[in-house]
Point group: C2
Chain length 391, copies 2
């Protein structure tokens, strides 16, 4: 049982001071005291410890406001570095970030579709090693590696199922832990994307939102009260598989009429193939359709509109279920924003009860959301034993 003692009090206040510096630097000890309500003496003593731990530094004297000049403090975001990997179906993207989520280095590797698991593991190791080589000198070095996987993961770092990779149960954390002696965090690609947008993108100012990652499939990350909801056993947000057509076609998940059969890249490409103008072509992919849309192809524009409508139908379901402040659309479909945005909003206006005010947004960090979020999971874990919240 978690009882209270003096140690806890200190931890809470130190956490508050650190968070304040992270969010509002540059600022002085006096500023912190005023903002937090903590006594000046308390702030001084806690800041001294944070400086000892290399998490905070002094930049020098600031502007006087009629008295002694303050000593300005900053958050030492270079105290350590995190690695985040977006493990896609046909690519791998790794980013190296500092403790504030700024990208220091990035590297992308292409993957042949259907690459076997052994080969993916090897490439992943190489990618991580390469990224590690680009870490600057720092007190804490690399504080961990986070990986976003397009599939279902549990809280122990196992992948339970990743159909688009052809994986069943996979102990990816175990594999990596053997090679790298640092914390490894595995999570779902949509959760990571949601977290990335929460910290560094469209979700920065939102406490409650749903991030929907629409690509080949549809995944989602649920942010409630500023933190990610992972569900009972770490599986959740499989919203691509809710039924929007009770007697529709069977999905590979076993259910019928799943949303993702109507509103994903897989649905889009299938419909495109049926267009008279494209019937013969074998090279249909999202990029081609974007080209055609740019050129003003009416069939394609109409198709995008239809897909947008189905996305809107799913969004109405999400809004009715969670009443979030916003739904953020991310992953590949953020590329076709301009052709689906109107249809999504139109559908929502038609179907959603007026009392709800859910805004539709698009991912701000684009293809980086997932890698950034994965890196952020590591940073969160690094700070977790320093940060405490009370309610």
């Amino acid at each position: 049982m978690k009882t209270g003692d003096l140690n806890l009090v200190k931890k809470i206040n130190k956490s508050i001071v650190l968070t304040t510096i992270q969010n509002m630097a540059p600022l002085s000890r006096a500023n912190i005291s005023e903002i937090t309500g903590l006594n000046k003496a308390t702030v001084s003593s806690l800041v001294a410890e944070l400086i000892d731990e290399a998490l905070v530094g002094e930049t020098g004297p600031g502007e006087s406001s009629g008295g002694r000049r303050p000593v300005m403090l900053y958050f030492n975001k270079k105290a350590g570095f995190s690695i985040g990997v977006d493990l896609g179906v046909n690519y791998m993207l790794a980013v190296l970030t500092d403790l504030s989520g700024t990208i220091i280095y990035e590297k992308q590797t292409e993957l042949e579709p259907q690459t076997n698991q052994e080969a993916i593991f090897t490439k992943l190791s190489l990618l991580i090693k390469d990224t590690m080589d680009h870490v600057p000198e720092s007190p804490y070095g690399i504080i961990g590696v986070g990986i976003g996987v397009p599939g279902i993961t549990n809280n122990e770092g196992d992948v339970l199922l990743a159909p688009n990779l052809g994986w069943g149960f996979t102990d990816i954390k175990g594999y990596l832990a053997k090679q790298f002696d640092i914390p490894i965090i595995i999570d779902n690609e949509a959760n990571a994307g949601a977290y990335g947008e929460k910290l560094y993108g469209s979700g920065k100012t939102l406490a409650n939102f749903i991030y929907t990652s629409i690509g080949i499939g549809i995944g989602s990350g649920i942010v409630i009260d500023n933190s990610l909801f992972r569900g009972a056993t770490g599986i959740s947000g499989e919203m691509g598989h809710f039924t929007i057509n009770a007697h529709g076609p069977t999905c590979r998940c076993g259910n019928k009429g799943c949303w993702e059969l109507y509103a994903s890249e897989q649905a889009l490409l299938k419909e495109a193939q049926n267009l008279p103008s494209l019937k013969e072509r074998k090279d249909i992919n999202l990029e081609l359709l974007i080209q055609l849309a740019e050129a003003g192809d009416q069939d394609i524009l109409q198709l995008f509109d239809l897909i947008g409508e189905y996305i809107g139908i799913g969004f109405v379901n999400i809004a009715n279920t969670f009443n979030p402040q916003a739904i953020i659309l991310g992953n590949r479909f953020s590329l076709i924003k301009k052709w689906i945005f109107e249809a999504i909003n139109r559908t929502i206006a038609q179907r959603l009860s007026v009392s709800q005010e859910t805004e539709i947004k698009f991912s701000e960090r684009g293809i980086y959301s997932c890698a950034l979020g994965s890196a952020a999971f590591v940073i969160e874990a690094f700070f977790s034993h320093r940060k405490v919240t009370v309610e």
Copy 2:
């Protein structure tokens, strides 16, 4: 900003001690010390204060285990009383409970359908006053009134919309506050039901579950990490209005093919009306159908089965979205459990990916869930300034 100080530590520990006594009484100070890890001296001092506040009492000496006999403590559940009201469409049920949720007194009032708001308010006042008259003498008296309303409420205690009552925006809290000088808490009927089941029913051992209240409409309460999720602005769980048929009939909410059009009492009665055997009858209601089912009417049994299937389809959506440990079916449809249970489970087995293990349960407190949950909201508020949690 919420900083830490000695006062906070004390509050945390006092809260732990009180919770421990509530959950495990009768027990001694030494027991508490052992269970919580708090020092014996600390426990003694905190228990002394709780006794001063009349929340805890001593029953007398317990069994010796080879030394001095312990003084056994109990939670004084009679220190105050709470009133919970289930404001239904054609009835009002009030319960008077002690601080542990035990019902001391209850009273139900029938309502004519379409009763106007003024009349409902008057009846509600009378019901509350009558309930108050049955309160035993106690240190804190009546600590508040909680009301569960079949509609959308916000966190300020306003009803925004209650279609089945014919209400638009209604300041019910304001009305009651004028007459009763105690805390008034207004919440959605499904949220209250969920909370009632969480504390005193099928949800007691579950940290994550979805309570679906299926009656005329379908509402839902979402329990995440042992606490109720209310959504961005206190509106959430309008799951009855997610689409399960993208191009189905239009619902009064504006959306199309809403789940509640296929799986609620309203759907059931409409289908029943179309049965050849019932075409001429004007007195179709749930109770009649139950009678017929008991008598073995094949048409009715088949109809129940069909409705069960649609309930199952919605449950699959819920499971895919939240991955809860269980889905608890409550309200009127808990009455027809034996005729729909099999169809629900069958549908889920067919449609839900095997990796998920969501159990289907039925409400344990039956028609009391909502009133009990409403009363519990009041108790929670009463303790909220005493109880603190840290993470």
